[in-house]
């Protein structure tokens, strides 16, 4: 089929799970014979030159590590349409404001085209996409998360083609009860008007049904996966030395539960004073978290690294003895899979979609700080346990493939557009 994909980020410029998922899905769909036009917001000043270089020389932006036989297929079946925009995943209205103002200071002329606030920019991006949709022919529109909803709906109206809306996270996941009403309204419109919905977990499907009263039959669950190239080259761990290290990696925001991690750390340190805790990432709760660590008097054993990228992430994983994902509300949560690739045992919250598919991890309720601490202690105390978990986890990862996710997505396409020809 021909897919008009409203996606996000492609390697090597990825800031989180949404980019990883979009890339995995797109590459696997191309592998199944689908032809994809990939539309994504692109901040011209930030990286247009390098992006165009990659696209023009290699056809697609892939790092050397990911090059394999499949790359050629990908190049043939994938067309990139970067659209100038300041949008990127994980933006909230406040964050966008800061970005916009700094842009206007530095590039006063070009910046004037962007929307003055996040919602305005989302609408502006949708108009640009509409122009694009008029010139292209496709069978299905596939959009990822709320920011692409107006663009996808406009493309649907112009083309009359069905829309598949893929939900990686909801505003309720990101902001809890303090959800932004305008964003919720856009989400609602997308969910109601989409022809089919894909949710990244049963948990997310349940939330869509409960929060937005969408009929469950309209929603298919497709879990995320792990690149098998990565799964093959796993296990490059470094010796972390005498002192054990426990890692939190993610945005330091309400959704990720950093506060529960800190409370658990302080309980662990009462029993095992020689453990290091690392909180890698940035976010609006970071200041408060640093204060809390100071209040608890555990600053000498608790470190903040700030935002990490690329090799830094690889390095921090390979130094870790345990990865904890205490998310309050995690539609899927791809990072535990990455930790497993580095042979790191995983503790994750039951309030995450990924816990639906992972067996060889320990699970906790994010609010049960004592249980979290007890399990951290158990993994650090019993090397036998850590080894048993990581050995089995690697076998498990080999079965969590993007190809399987893509096959399920193709099924959703067929339901949405029964008349379209399968492949070209």
């Amino acid at each position: 089929m021909r897919i008009l994909m409203f996606g996000w980020e492609f390697p090597p410029w990825m800031s989180g799970g949404l980019g990883t998922a979009c890339y995995g899905i797109t590459a696997a769909l191309a592998g199944l014979g689908h032809r994809i036009t990939f539309v994504l917001p692109w901040d011209e000043e930030a990286g247009a030159t390098s992006f165009l270089n990659l696209v023009s020389t290699a056809g697609i932006p892939v790092s050397d590590a990911d090059r394999d036989d499949g790359t050629e297929t990908l190049i043939r079946r994938l067309t990139f349409r970067p659209l100038p925009s300041l949008l990127h995943p994980y933006l909230d209205p406040k964050h966008y404001q800061t970005l916009y103002l700094s842009k206007r200071r530095r590039f006063p002329e070009t910046a004037s085209v962007y929307g003055p606030d996040l919602i305005a920019e989302v609408i502006r991006y949708s108009r640009a996409s509409g122009v694009l949709a008029r010139t292209l022919s496709f069978d299905v529109i596939h959009a990822h998360d709320w920011m692409t909803v107006p663009a996808a709906l406009l493309a649907r109206r112009i083309s009359g083609k069905p829309l598949v809306l893929h939900i990686h996270s909801l505003e309720y996941d990101r902001s809890g009860e303090g959800a932004n009403e305008e964003i919720c309204a856009i989400e609602r419109e997308g969910l109601e008007k989409a022809d089919r919905i894909i949710a990244v977990s049963h948990r997310t499907k349940r939330m869509i049904v409960e929060r937005y009263a969408i009929h469950p039959q309209k929603i298919s669950v497709v879990h995320n996966a792990v690149s098998q190239a990565e799964a093959r080259q796993a296990c490059r761990t470094e010796e972390s030395g005498e002192r054990k290290m426990v890692l939190f990696l993610g945005r330091i925001t309400f959704q990720k539960g950093p506060d529960y991690f800190i409370e658990a750390a302080s309980l662990v340190l009462k029993v095992l004073p020689d453990v290091t805790f690392v909180m890698a990432g940035a976010g609006d709760m970071m200041g408060r978290m640093i204060e809390r660590v100071a209040e608890l008097g555990i600053g000498d054993r608790f470190h903040f690294t700030g935002f990490l990228q690329g090799e830094e992430i690889e390095r921090i994983f390979s130094l870790s003895d345990l990865y904890v994902m205490p998310s309050v509300s995690e539609p899927f949560g791809i990072s535990p899979l990455e930790a497993m690739l580095y042979d790191v045992p995983v503790i994750l919250s039951r309030q995450s979609g990924v816990s639906e598919i992972l067996k060889h991890a320990l699970k906790v309720d994010f609010w049960d700080v004592r249980d979290m601490a007890a399990k951290i202690i158990a993994v650090l105390k019993h090397p036998v346990l850590a080894r048993a978990m990581t050995t089995k986890a690697l076998d498990e990862l080999r079965k969590i493939r993007w190809e399987i996710a893509a096959e399920k997505i193709a099924l959703v396409y067929r339901e949405a557009a029964p008349g379209a020809s399968e492949t070209e």
């Binding site: 320990l362 249980d371 007890a374 036998v384 346990l385 048993a388 089995k392 498990e396």
Partner: protein
Amino acid sequence: MPNVCLYFQVHQPRRLRRFSFFDVGHLHDYEDEAENRRILDRIAEKCYLPFGALLLQLIGEYGGAFRFALSISGVLLDQIERHRPDVLESFQRLAATKCVEFLNETDSHSLAFLFSPREFRAQILRHRERILSLFGQEGRTFRHTELIYSDALATAVEKMGYRTILAEGTEKILGRRSPNLVYRPAGCKKLKLLLRNYRLSDDVAFRFSDRNWAEYPLTAQKYAHWLHRIRREEAVIGLFMDYETLGEHQWRETGIFDFFRNLPGEILRHPDFRFQTPAEAAAAHEAAGEIHSPAFISWADEERDTTAWLGNAMQQDAARMLYGLEAAIRHTKDPDHLGTWRMLQTSDHLYYMCTKWFSDGDVHRYFSPFESPYEAYINYMNILDDLSRSIRGKKERHNDRETRTLSL
């Protein structure tokens, strides 16, 4: 003349409570009493009482012609003695008919033989005493936890005076020989070996209610017909299964009770067929040959070995730590500590740490009170940690007293 040798295993573990690291040193009760009580009551109503009544009725109907064996683990005896005297009475009524043989096993349903010969003997002696006092029978037949068996085990059992031992009739020890014969364990002179015919046993225990099975539905008539086709030279057909097959593993709705109600009549319809208990069958037949089993076998899984309890590093670590406490436990001479340590030896606790089926998502075979084998291991190790600390604490207090005495 072929004989049908029925034996039922009766066992329920004493499941452990959730014991967090933060409970270590603070709480010292390890059992989930409420859950164990709930499960015991359920199984009593669904299986122990109705199946006991049915067996009693069948014995009455067929006079001495319907006979079988029971092996009741000490762990279950602990629970019914305390909470369900009606279940104990149901077993005692069966004992009074003289048509039921009660077997001996390791009292704690343990793997003690693999770790401590002394503890192994102690547990068998304890079980022998309990069976004698509760059911009036001196044990003549031994069966090990989960039908674990090896040459060395057989030799040890013979030395304790037993004349019959049971094992799985697997090709691993039989090669191409028939499971339906009495054998002599290698290295033994008096002990005889009876084997479980796993195909026929599992037709009832596992496949009875499987709608995808070609033989579904299985009637007593059809099953008896299969038995009757077995060659007349073959002496003993060992049908060994859990007592809980009736009403718990196979629900009443599957028709399992009707199957058993009709089974003795259908089998005895053939004039050459009889029922015998294991001790009777062993006494009545000469050994047809010698069986070698240098490695351990069991009745579990495709592998028929001990990997369900000791297959991964967590299980081995837990068992090592458990039996590592033996000397310190004995040193305290505290019956409570000894009792707790024995309760922790029940093989089920190790079974819950098994990762074999957990990966495949085979939930049917993975019945465990824990969310994962990892949680089972963590919980168990916390309890062992607490037990080992309380032994040490006792020792220190003891030493303190001695010091005080000296200074006086």
